[in-house]
């Protein structure tokens, strides 16, 4: 009896060209489907969480630095009561542009993109080293202004894949807050509007957007990403204007602590 059941598989043991080819084609098909699934979903989950992790580490580092500077080495015995009051943007400190390319110098926090959304902003817009990076994801256009500076703090990030830091850029609504955190504190920008332009429309990152050469009177944050989704034919541009400054000593903005973004 066992003899009989084993004869059939034995007879088929020889490899046929068509059989191998068919199995290879099925394999390729499965690989393509896996790739699509990875591209539109899994990659963003993996890279997104790594980028958020990197941003959190940077924020922790700043919080520790600030505690050390306040002299509370060791036990954080009595943290000062949080102020939670935004100050005038005029009082915000302006750091000079980081010298090191790809150097992380700020984090981006956007409650509209998710309660735990945080990404690192690095100097430069190199695709491989900054925008595709598992540690950064958001890049600062070299030569544009810095956070808090009169003019235009312009940053770029992917809308899909590679963690998709700006995956929900066009979901922003007028009045939404966009925070840029540095070692000094939190720069609060308020979203003002979207614009769709062609990829060569470089005046969107001018000190006064769309008016190159004009003298800036406001502190603008410009975020650029690709448009439409999964295409690079156009660019989606989000403009925000700075509305408040929260020094680190005063504690994180109430909006963020209420969201559960821990002050670490």
């Amino acid at each position: 009896m066992p003899e009989q059941t084993r004869t059939r598989p034995r007879a088929r043991r020889r490899l046929s060209v068509v059989g191998v080819l068919g199995e290879l084609l099925i394999t390729v098909g499965v690989l393509v489907l896996l790739f699509i699934g990875w591209y539109v979903w899994l990659n963003d989950v993996i890279v997104g969480s790594e980028q958020t992790q990197a941003a959190t580490e940077l924020q922790q580092e700043w919080a520790e630095q600030s505690r050390d500077e306040r002299g509370g080495a060791g036990e954080p015995a009595e943290p000062p009561p949080p102020v939670y009051e935004g100050q005038s943007p005029d009082s915000a400190p302006v750091r000079s542009e980081p010298g090191g390319v790809n150097e992380a110098f700020a984090t981006l926090i956007v409650p509209r993109f998710g309660t735990d959304y945080a990404r690192t902003i690095a100097q430069g817009i190199d695709v491989r080293d900054v925008l595709n990076s598992r540690r950064t994801g958001v890049g600062h256009y070299p030569g544009t202004q810095m956070p808090g500076e009169l003019g235009n703090f312009a940053i770029a990030a992917h809308r899909n894949a590679n963690g998709a830091p700006f995956g929900r850029l066009v979901d922003l609504r007028v009045g939404d807050h966009v925070y840029v955190e540095t070692a000094d504190g939190w720069y609060e920008y308020t979203f003002r509007g979207l614009e769709y332009v062609l990829p060569n429309q470089v005046d969107v990152i001018a000190p006064v957007p769309r008016d190159a050469g004009a003298d800036p009177a406001e502190r603008i944050l410009t975020m650029t990403t690709c448009n439409p989704l999964f295409s690079t034919d156009e660019r989606a541009i989000a403009y925000s204007v700075m509305t408040a400054w929260y020094p680190r000593e005063g504690g994180m903005p109430a909006e963020l602590s209420e969201l559960g973004q821990e002050e670490v």
Partner: protein, 52 residues
Amino acid sequence: MYAALWRALPGPVWLRLLIVLVLVAGILWALAYVVFPWAADVLLPQDVTVEE
């Protein structure tokens, strides 16, 4: 092809299953972390910036 590979594996069925699971897991990991990122870089548009 896959049938031949299955027969080439040593040991009883449970051991072969284990080997296959480990192999598949390794291949999926390599795809997600090495092959697909490389393929996306090469094949798909990446531009999100404005430039002249």
